[in-house]
């Protein structure tokens, strides 16, 4: 029987050993695999290094205290990202004292004239960083879920407790805003 974790082990094996033995090297292994990803996600959503540091610490604490509740219905990484998104979105909701995803999109009409994904995906990384920083919290979060984590519309809708058509509409509006911001900020570059 294994007594500790090693780098060859998959996430689920590491979790099982950690839950049985509380071995610190299992903790270290999971931390090393996910710290950069969680921190990077937090800084994209919260736009503040100190906040992102505190958030990463709290998210990891939540993850390790709730490891036994991980039901293995999805990949561990998906669960980790959903904990991260929920934590950051809750923080932003509390900070803004309202839902960061607008309510009027609940009654969204059918989509027309949607901007093609290519226009967004061809933006330079440096430009994308600036554009995302200038975007409202909800729009930024939804674009990250869709294009960074490649989450399905259904998964985003489930996570945010919204309808799928509402999510599609919010993505459409966020893409329009991103496109507009890019033109305003980098017009001179073309």
């Amino acid at each position: 029987m294994e007594t500790s974790c090693n780098k060859q082990m998959k996430d689920l094996e590491v979790i099982h050993v950690y839950l049985r033995k509380q071995a610190s090297n299992c903790f270290t292994l999971l931390y090393d695999r996910y710290a950069a990803k969680i921190f990077s996600k937090c800084i994209s959503l919260l736009k503040d290094e100190a906040l992102a540091q505190d958030a990463t610490q709290e998210i990891f604490t939540k993850i390790f205290l709730n490891l036994s509740r991980f039901e293995e219905k999805s990949q561990f990484s998906t669960w980790v990202y959903s904990v991260t998104y929920n934590f950051c979105i809750d923080y932003l909701r509390r900070k803004n004292k309202q839902d960061i995803f607008s309510e009027d999109i609940e009654k969204a009409p059918e989509l027309e004239d949607d901007i093609p994904d290519e226009e967004l995906l061809q933006m330079e990384v440096r430009q994308l960083r600036t554009v995302l920083e200038k975007m409202p919290d909800g729009d930024r979060a939804i674009l990250l879920m869709k294009y960074q984590d490649e989450m399905s519309i259904k998964d985003i809708a489930d996570m945010l407790d919204k309808t799928e058509s509402a999510i599609k509409m919010q993505i459409k509006r966020a893409k329009e805003k991103a496109q507009r911001l890019k033109q305003e900020l980098f017009q001179g570059a073309y």
């Binding site: 710290a35 990077s40 290094e49 540091q53 960083r129 995302l132 990250l144 960074q148």
Partner: protein
């Protein structure tokens, strides 16, 4: 890998210096949680038993008192009049 994912990777590398600080804080926090958990695990059943005893209930039978502590004999001699050591090979396990 698209530009969003490249941004994600870049941010991961850019803020590497934060990770050790977070790890140390996290180990401290989880250590405290574990310590508190152990305290609760050990003492809460005893406190519950005490409350039951004070309220007139019987002490639970499944928590016997620990056996009295005897100093081991320094010379290997029996300790008292009723303690004669092993009688035969059957007593030695």
């Amino acid at each position: 890998m698209n530009n969003f994912q490249r941004l994600f990777e870049e941010d991961g590398d850019r803020y590497k210096n934060h990770h050790e600080t977070i790890r140390q804080n996290l180990l401290g926090t989880l250590g405290v949680f574990r310590f508190v958990g152990q305290i609760v695990e050990v003492y809460i059943p005893r406190v519950a038993d005490m409350i039951v005893s004070f309220s007139g209930g019987n002490a639970p039978e499944d928590t016997p008192l620990p056996p009295p502590h005897h100093e081991p004999p320094s010379s290997g001699a029996p300790m008292g009049p009723n303690d004669h050591g092993p009688v035969g090979t059957g007593d030695i396990r």
